[in-house]
């Protein structure tokens, strides 16, 4: 059986996929993962998961470009300049009149 191994390098860090080991059962997998991914004290913790328990999703359609949910969905340069011009505050903006 293939077991996927996730390792945590230091406390507080996320668990990241490190690789996989083949083993007849969980107790062997534990020993083997411990050795392959921890014998140099390079990990503080490991997660072991049988491969069948993992499901990959890799398909994320965005047919209608719903960018309003992200930072790059906003372009405020032109409007900001207009607002500053109107308020007479263009020179005060960082970088002076040239700024956005």
């Amino acid at each position: 059986m293939v077991y996927e191994v996730f390792r945590q390098e230091r406390k507080g860090q996320p668990f990241q996929h490190a690789g996989s080991v083949t083993a007849p059962d969980e107790s062997f997998a534990e020993v083997y993962a411990r050795e392959q991914y921890g014998r140099r004290q390079e990990s503080v913790a490991l997660w072991l998961v049988p491969r069948e328990a993992l499901h990959q999703i890799a398909d994320f359609p965005d047919e209608f470009e719903m960018k309003y949910r992200r930072v790059d969905g906003y372009s405020i340069k032109a409007r900001l300049r207009e607002a500053r011009e109107r308020a007479g505050t263009l020179e005060m903006a960082p970088g002076g009149a040239e700024a956005e």
């Binding site: 062997f28 020993v31 050795e35």
Partner: protein
């Protein structure tokens, strides 16, 4: 030589030779993951030997390497069990498990020693050996769960049993028997232990090979 040094050398020699024997599987173990795991066990054992030699060396006015390499074959105090050259996997596992079981009993006694250095090192060794025991138990479980595995294991254990008894002092042997029999679910043969003091023929051969590079330069040469 004091009793203390004698004791330290006996255990150190056990760990050194067993570590050596186990390291012989590096690269040729039954499968790759096991190869890596078993190699760590071998390294730990050599590491234990080194720590024990250092303790004895301080008392005897020498160095760990000199104790490990520069004695004559007849001066080593290891149990015959660890000297046997057994490149067959069932016997390797049997020896591994038998030794770890005996060693656990031995370490329990040492942890209670009123010599703080000995008690301290025994505690450290025991913490690492816990993983060795886990590994041995795992293999025993697996082998016992199939007919072929059980047959091979039992044959190997029966052959090594007299040697296993020889690892421990007289008063600790009944405990080894009790634990082994409970685990295997059967009685083990009533045999004469093969004790320390009389070396297997393999030891001299092993000593030749293990010291050949070291002896090729004058004493005190750096490597």
């Amino acid at each position: 030589m004091s009793e203390r040094a004698d004791l330290l050398l006996a255990i150190a020699d056990d760990e050194l030779f067993l570590g050596w024997r186990n390291s012989e599987w590096t690269g040729i173990a039954p499968f790759l993951e096991e190869d890596v795991a078993f190699s760590s066990i071998a390294q730990n054992e050599i590491g234990h030997a080194r720590a024990l030699y250092e303790l004895a060396a301080a008392e005897l006015g020498t160095t760990a390497d000199e104790l490990a390499f520069d004695r004559r074959p007849e001066e080593y105090r290891c149990a015959p069990l660890v000297q046997l050259r057994r490149l067959e996997w069932a016997r390797t596992i049997a020896r591994h498990w038998l030794y770890e079981t005996a060693d656990e009993i031995r370490l329990e006694a040492l942890k209670a020693s009123n010599d703080p250095e000995i008690a301290g090192i025994a505690a450290k060794m025991d913490r690492e050996e816990a993983y060795h025991r886990m590994h041995a138990e795992m293999w025993i479980d697996r082998l016992l769960s199939s007919e072929e595995g059980r047959a091979r294991l039992n044959e190997a254990v029966d052959e090594l049993w007299p040697y296993a008894l020889g690892v421990l002092d007289d008063e600790l042997r009944p405990e080894l028997r009790r634990r082994a029999e409970e685990r295997l679910g059967r009685t083990l043969p009533d045999v004469e232990p093969v004790t320390r003091g009389v070396h297997e023929a393999e030891l001299a051969e092993l000593w030749e090979e293990m010291t050949m590079v070291r002896r090729s330069a004058p004493a005190g040469a750096r490597w």
